[in-house]
Amino acid sequence: MALLDVEDLSVTFARRGQRTVRAVDGVSFSVEAGEVVGLVGESGCGKSVTSLAIMGLLPKQPGLQVAGKAVFDGTDLLQLDDRSRRDIRGRDVAMIFQDPLSSLNPVVPIGLQVTEVLTRHRGMKGEAAAKEAAQLLDRVGIPDPRRRLKEYPHQLSGGMRQRALIAMAVACQPRLLIADEPTTALDVTIQAQILELLKDLVRDSGTALVMITHDLGVVAGMCDTINVLYGGRVVETARRRPLFRQPRHPYTVGLLGSVPRLDAGRGERLNPIPGSVRDLLPWPDGCAFAPRCDRRVDACVGEPPDLVLTHDGRSYRCVNPAPLPGLTPGAEARETRPGQATPGSVPAQAVPDDPPAAPGLAAAPSEEETP
């Protein structure tokens, strides 16, 4: 049994007077112990909301509905009460966020931000906690950790801040680490260092890692299994090598094709996927990617495409996938699962501007206050 089994996870935001928005629309994937799994997709495809839903960190608000299952080590995280969830968070499942500066509390020293996890989950206090914290900082490659413990986030560089956040996340040796675009806010040289650090940490500790990113380079460098998301659903799942060699879903093909290449000729143009995420078909009406797809056929529209599981352990959600050499279409399928979808709702991207895919990730609501 997998360490984490996400089954048919869906997150909807209902607002009075507006159509219900599905940010995540039946996402399923699993993570084996010690495995590195990628969730890839462009902005707004539901990657972050998926991770926040698993962690139970979606901001509580009326109209928010999380359905499906996220079974971690036998317990469905979505069914837990607030207290047991707090017990698991930070101890068994930890998370690293995108922007290291805003993710650290500006008025609390780094040391306390590390030791508070140790105090909460491992009951460590005082000098013992400080010693452990210093060791953690040392382990994530922060020089002079004793001094850094007393410093505040603004005194650290961007890379150091992300290292500190990673130290907090691995403080209790979690079995699962979710990293939500951990390198997006960093410059390229630092990105490589942070990815290297994450790779080392998961290899040494046997922690499973869910890597959420839009950067295929990140995925290529470290993930064992990759899930490609589009419009709130997983459209293709494969091991790293087959996915990069023979992408099946036209969206994956487009993603790979649009990566800028150093060996491209001078003046050669990038190969973007036509259209934008906004050109999205609601899943009940067919394949969400159909409006932008160059392999579109009549069968794409009308009902959601079935999920095709192939003999080599891959799966994709497409009626007209990119062909494999030496294989007739249809012969590869081991099993298909009908792509049900709840009618009457629209994916997040189909609704212009409002509301954001994840309310907690958006800018703070402006409070008009007249003192």
Binding site: D82, R86, F97, H154
Partner: protein
């Protein structure tokens, strides 16, 4: 830190200098003068001129100002025209009342305002939120003297819970040391005197606290709402910290920054006296006395009091800046 304080105190000198010039000109531009206040309508021009000469008001304004500055440097604020007592004495007798009133009012405003603002933010859109936002609107709108009269009518005249006027019951015969009546009572161990002075403070402080309370509730609420959406609160939640730790360490501490600033400004405002509240409760602070002095054109009292209030205001804001740097490490003073 030390250099910061010294620099701020040195900055006080040009501030006071500028203020004194403005005040001097402004006060002399007021129609009438102390002689009108003393003589009323009946005085002859000769009598008026005699009084002006007596007070040194017939000399050129520059010479008058020069004399004022020379006295200021010796920390001599002169003598009140109407009470014939030293301005410094008048101040030391009345200002402690204002300070006691201000502190009590701010303790009420902060003690209720911050928890209420926090709860309103956490229960956003629910009853408590609407009630506190609506209530704070009333708190800002209701005239303070009106609220003072209502409080006095209900809690003093009808229910008899609190005394209706003054700073202390004179029949207690309390010993005076600092003129801070509560402090005096504690220092001399005259507990009943301290308690009585405290009881006298409750109603005027409540009336006075209404506006600061309303402002603090609103600023706290807005600030907490903003912080709740910050990424680091989500990080704290992701660590599995208890709600209590998330609230105290991560939400409230950050949300306090704008609140502290407003507390400083509000405190400074209250310290310049509360004319109406003092009048309603016959409370002897500087507010009512200052208002009288304006009517009497009591130049030395006005100049002296306003200069000291300016100093106090600057000091309060200095304390705010220092406490700000304690809360927020990014604002380390240098």
């Amino acid at each position: 830190m030390f250099r910061f304080i010294v620099r701020r105190l040195l900055q006080l000198i040009p501030t006071l200098f500028g203020l004194s010039i403005l005040l001097f000109i402004w006060l002399r531009r007021l129609p009438g003068g102390p002689e009108t206040a003393i003589l009323g309508e009946r005085g002859t021009p000769e009598m008026r001129a005699a009084i002006r000469r007596n007070l040194g008001l017939d000399e050129p304004i520059l010479i008058q100002y020069g004399r004022f500055v020379r006295r200021m440097i010796r920390l001599d604020l002169g003598t009140s025209i109407s009470t014939k007592r030293e301005v410094t004495t008048e101040f030391l007798q009345r200002f402690p009342g204002t300070v006691e009133l201000t502190i009590t009012a701010m303790v009420i405003a902060v003690g209720i305002g911050i928890p209420l603002g926090y709860l309103a933010a956490r229960r956003r859109g629910r009853f408590l939120d609407h009630a506190s936002v609506g209530g704070s609107l009333i708190g800002i709108c209701i005239p303070v003297f009106f609220l003072a009269y209502i409080l006095k009518a209900i809690f003093s005249e009808n229910l008899g819970w609190f005394p209706s006027s003054g700073r202390q019951d004179p029949t207690i015969g309390a010993t005076r040391i600092t003129n801070f009546f509560v402090l005096d009572g504690l220092m001399t161990r005259e507990w009943d005197a301290a308690a009585d002075a405290l009881m006298h403070l409750v109603l005027p402080a409540l009336a006075l606290a209404s506006i600061p309370l309303a402002i603090i509730v609103r600023i706290t609420r807005a600030s907490v709402l903003e912080v709740l959406n910050e990424d680091f609160v989500r990080t704290a939640e992701a660590k599995g910290l208890t709600e209590n730790v998330v609230r105290r360490r991560h939400v409230l501490r950050n949300a306090m920054l704008p609140v502290v600033t407003s507390i400083g400004l509000l405190t400074g405002g209250l310290l310049s006296g509360a004319v109406l509240t003092e009048t309603v409760f016959a409370f002897s602070g500087i507010g009512a006395f200052l208002a009288d002095s304006i009517n009497q054109r009591d130049y030395p009292v006005l100049m002296g009091f306003i200069m000291i209030i300016a100093v106090v205001y600057v000091l309060v804001n200095l304390i705010v800046d220092l406490s700000y740097s304690l809360i927020d490490p990014r604002v380390r003073v240098r």
